[in-house]
């Protein structure tokens, strides 16, 4: 193995991992075409992650604009319509452009390494599922520049407001179609890889938790994404082809859209959360130097969450008005999700209990995840209670709640994953001091931003408003200052990652962590371009 980094340099062929055959005499193309035509899971994983990082900053800039406008009462920075475009696109870009792709990136890199497979099952489709995404982002960003501007009806796309929108809305609809197609292909690939390409001896119940959570997530994606595609297609035909799916005057119902959207939307929450659970289930045992507590119950809890996630969609719609029996059913079903989620939290804490703990950056982010995600889970339980939700629906309490789940949950877990695996991916250790700074700044910035939003929501501030009464001024200012700190500290993350890819920093051993276990740590860091062409032996 050469000392060159894998990362962005020319792919290295490791002689040891590549012995018996070499039928592609010319090797892969170099330069730009290498990335366009690659079918290598590591290259595609890297591209997914870089793509997600780019979107993370685009969505982040939008968040900064939102918080700048809300820094003080009054309209100072943007007009209300542009403000609405920012909140709408921030949501779509962060969910579909940043969080989902980054976890697909982890899946691409890690699943073959973790189960001892040479690559993903459908290598060419893998290339295609990635390369569909940049056009989707171009449509999303481009929609800002068409007449009438972009979607300003919220990422939830509720009609009839979305029927009123300009052509930016059509671009968004096509972007959602494309991203959905990409996700479905990615999911088929992950399921096939996990079910068919495990090394001999790697039974399902020996798989790392990360693979389990992704297997279940992939099924959720296949079930949920077509539903979203159907919903936006109906929007499109309502807009342009004279149908009335969501128009009462034509015999339709605007609420129908909400049912369809949230039938996708609630599983989507777990599509984002489950891989995050998987990452944390890898990181906590490694830094506790102790096996994951309750592996089997973790698998069952994950599957239970996935199944329940299809039965709770209308808890997003309590304020729409439905019969008491409907509200009670969705309240009970939603509360029930707290049980398997609680099991996971208890198992993680039990994994730490009587371990031998160290707190490198991945572990810090995993603990941050555990603490704050659980807080978000509890506010979720509060919101599950119909009468309480009636007060809190569409307020900043909900904004705080889902950012605790999505940011402190999914994003912190993604940071944990990057710090945990980047020595493997690049062959270099990240800068531990800067990593810790990144964690603490993020932790403080995040909580300043979002904790006070619980108070704003309780006191009565609706979400998606560009201006507010003076009684909300102080907490909004705190929230905005926190957001600027949180946003700014992410530049540190880019610098830390850049340093690793550039090849500076201490060289990483095959297994840089005392307590980490799994096939990926048996490979050199960085691993050769092709790995496990001969299946490894699994005990």
């Amino acid at each position: 193995m050469t000392s060159a980094t894998h990362g962005l340099g020319h792919p290295q062929h490791a002689p040891g991992a590549h012995d018996s055959h070499d039928d592609h005499a010319h090797g892969p193309p170099s330069g730009f075409m290498r990335w366009v035509s690659t079918t290598n899971h590591k290259d595609i994983g890297t591209m997914y992650m870089l793509f997600a990082l780019m979107n993370f900053f685009i969505g982040g800039v939008m968040a900064m604009i939102i918080r700048a406008e809300l820094f003080q009462p009054g309209l100072q920075v943007v007009n209300p319509d542009f403000f609405n475009q920012m909140t709408s696109l921030h949501g779509l870009i962060m969910i579909f452009g940043a969080i989902m792709p980054v976890f697909v990136g982890f899946a691409n890199w890690q699943i073959p390494l973790m189960i001892g497979a040479p690559d993903m099952a459908f290598a060419r489709m893998n290339n295609w599922s990635f390369w569909l995404l940049p056009p989707a982002t171009i449509l999303l960003i481009g929609s800002l520049f068409v007449p009438g501007g972009s979607l300003s009806a919220g990422w939830t796309l509720y009609p009839p407001l979305t029927v009123q929108q300009g052509m930016g809305m059509d671009l968004v609809i096509f972007a959602v179609h494309i991203m959905g197609a990409s996700s479905i292909m990615g999911s088929i690939n992950i399921i096939t890889t996990i079910l068919n390409m495990r090394a001999p001896g790697m039974t399902l119940f020996k798989m790392p938790m990360f693979c389990w959570t992704w297997l279940i997530t992939a099924f959720l994606l296949i079930a949920a994404m077509p539903v979203l595609a159907g919903a936006v297609t109906m929007l499109l035909t309502d807009r342009h082809f004279g149908t009335s799916f969501f128009n009462a005057a034509g015999g339709g119902d605007p609420v129908l859209f909400q049912h369809i959207f949230w039938f996708f939307g609630h599983p989507e929450v777990y599509i984002i959360a489950l891989p995050a659970f998987g990452v944390v289930s890898q990181v906590i045992p490694a830094f506790s130097r102790k096996p994951l507590f309750g592996y089997t119950s973790m698998v069952y809890a994950t599957a239970s969450i996935a199944i329940l996630s299809f039965m709770v969609w209308a808890h997003h719609m309590y304020a729409v008005g439905m019969p008491a029996a409907g509200q009670l059913f969705f309240m009970y079903a939603t509360a029930l999700i707290a049980v398997p989620t609680g099991v996971k939290v208890f198992n993680w804490v039990a994994t730490m209990w009587k371990g031998s703990l160290t707190f490198e950056t991945p572990m810090l982010f995993a603990c941050g995840f555990l603490f704050l995600f659980t807080l978000g889970g509890f506010t979720g339980l509060v919101l599950a209670i119909v009468p309480v939700d009636i007060q809190l629906q569409d307020t900043y309490y909900v904004v705080a709640h889902f950012h605790y789940v999505m940011v402190a949950g999914a994003l912190f877990s993604a940071f944990a994953a990057v710090y945990f695996w980047i020595p493997k991916w690049t062959g270099r250790m990240y800068d531990e001091t800067l990593g810790k700074w990144h964690f603490w700044l993020s932790m403080i910035g995040f909580n300043l931003t979002f904790f006070v939003q619980h108070f704003l929501g309780l006191a009565g501030m609706p979400r998606r408003i560009p201006d507010y009464n003076l009684q909300f001024a102080n907490f909004n200012m705190v929230s905005s200052l926190g957001a600027f700190l949180f946003g700014g500290s992410q530049l540190l993350f880019v610098y830390i990652v850049y340093k690793c890819y550039r090849g500076s920093g201490e060289k990483a051993a095959a297994n840089p962590w005392d307590g980490a276990e799994g096939l990926e740590w048996t490979l050199p860091s960085p691993p050769p371009y092709h790995t496990f062409e001969t299946p490894p032996a699994v005990k």
Partner: protein
């Protein structure tokens, strides 16, 4: 109000301390908890929220007490050696079943509150609320008047050219007025896109859906002016369609309704205007078509015996005072109301005058009389 950060940090800390010390309502009233309820329903919700949040806080402290103890005590740097246990079925069952029991216990008060919330029966007053881009419309269905309610905060305040006042963005030209202690049922709908009618102090939030009517209710338990906002994104002015409800005493409400009715009548037609015959007949034809034709038929022949004919009827061709009396008071037969109800409340003086004039000058009836609105006004008690 905008004296910078320290106050919010102070109130934030006060809120946290109060939470830890037993959730004192007093300390939390300053913008960190639900608004002080002004209805029975909002009070139930407030208490429910307090209970659920407290249970969550206790569990949270318990679980993360364990985690932080572990973080503190089981560090490698303290030389702690890792144990290697990794499963225990009994523990797994315990932490599945115990949370389940806690959740079931939580569902009892929650279910009671849901059923209370959904019970819109036996309302004293029904008001229809319509969401428009970007104002609210209120119709007092039993009293037959309505009005729009639009934000009055000037752009100069929004754009920072004038100082912002206390009710910035939460003030309207025509507030909704309701009497204290009466059960108010609100029928909520929308004209264009989704809106949501939200009054935090009453515990009411109901999406307004174009083409559909949903209902909710509240009983205000104290007088005062209360403020809420549209809670569902409805376009660019979504942040600028506040709701203001004035809760007043019963006599004040009655007086206000009377005043509103007078104003509505004044806006409609001047009852003192003198009309000529042709104009009254033309208008009367429309009033007849909307109100009378189902029973008395377009031919004026009626459907005897239930619905008597007007064509050739001595009541229509006879003295006009009798006919006016019938329209204002309705017809009683054997002490019971008949299908001929009073139109005194439904129709204005002008409409009644026009309808009477029309019937007296149509089909075979040729009285040639024009009944003036002023006569109707005079005949009303």
């Amino acid at each position: 109000m905008t004296n910078g950060i320290p106050r919010s940090i102070r109130s934030g800390i006060a809120g946290l301390l109060a939470g830890a010390a037993g959730w004192s309502n007093q300390a939390l009233a300053d913008g960190v908890n639900l608004q002080e309820p002004a209805s029975v329903l909002a009070r139930s919700i407030y208490d429910l929220h307090t209970i659920i949040t407290l249970i969550c806080v206790v569990i949270f402290i318990g679980v993360f007490g364990v985690m932080f103890y572990s973080v503190y005590a089981h560090r490698k740097s303290k030389g702690h050696k890792a144990a290697q246990f990794h499963e225990n079925v009994k523990v797994e069952i315990a932490w599945t079943v115990i949370p389940l029991i806690i959740l079931i216990a939580m569902m009892f008060p929650a279910t009671r509150a849901v059923l209370e919330m959904k019970d819109t029966s036996a309302a004293d007053i029904t008001i229809k609320v319509t969401g428009y881009q970007w104002k609210w419309g209120y119709d007092y269905l039993q009293d037959g008047f309505g009005f729009y309610s639009t934000m009055t905060t000037p752009m100069a305040q929004i754009e920072g050219r004038e100082a912002k006042t206390a009710n910035y963005l939460l003030e309207v030209d025509n507030p909704l007025v309701v009497p204290v202690g009466k059960k108010i049922r609100v029928l909520i709908t929308a004209n264009d896109v989704l809106h949501s009618w939200w009054m935090p102090v009453f515990g009411v939030k109901q999406d307004a859906i174009p083409g559909f009517v949903r209902d909710s209710w509240f009983t205000a338990n104290r007088e005062g002016t209360f403020r809420g906002q549209c809670a569902e994104l409805c376009g660019k002015e979504h942040g600028f369609m506040p709701i203001v409800v004035e809760v007043v005493s019963e006599p004040k409400y009655v007086a206000w309704v009377a005043d509103q009715k007078k104003r509505a009548a004044a806006v409609a037609d001047d009852p003192n205007k003198v009309w000529d015959l042709a104009a009254l007949v033309a208008r009367g034809e429309k009033v007849y078509a909307n109100n009378c034709v189902a029973c008395h038929q377009a031919t004026g022949k009626g459907v005897p015996p239930a619905f008597p004919p007007l064509d050739g009827s001595p009541r229509v061709t006879g003295p006009k005072a009798d006919q006016i009396h019938i329209l204002l008071e309705g017809v009683m037969k054997d002490g019971k109301a008949t299908a001929m109800v009073s139109f005194a409340k439904q129709l204005s003086d002008t409409d009644i005058a026009a309808a009477i004039t029309y019937t007296r000058n149509s089909w075979g009836n040729k009285t040639g009389e024009a009944i003036q609105p002023a006569e109707i006004k005079a005949a009303r008690k």
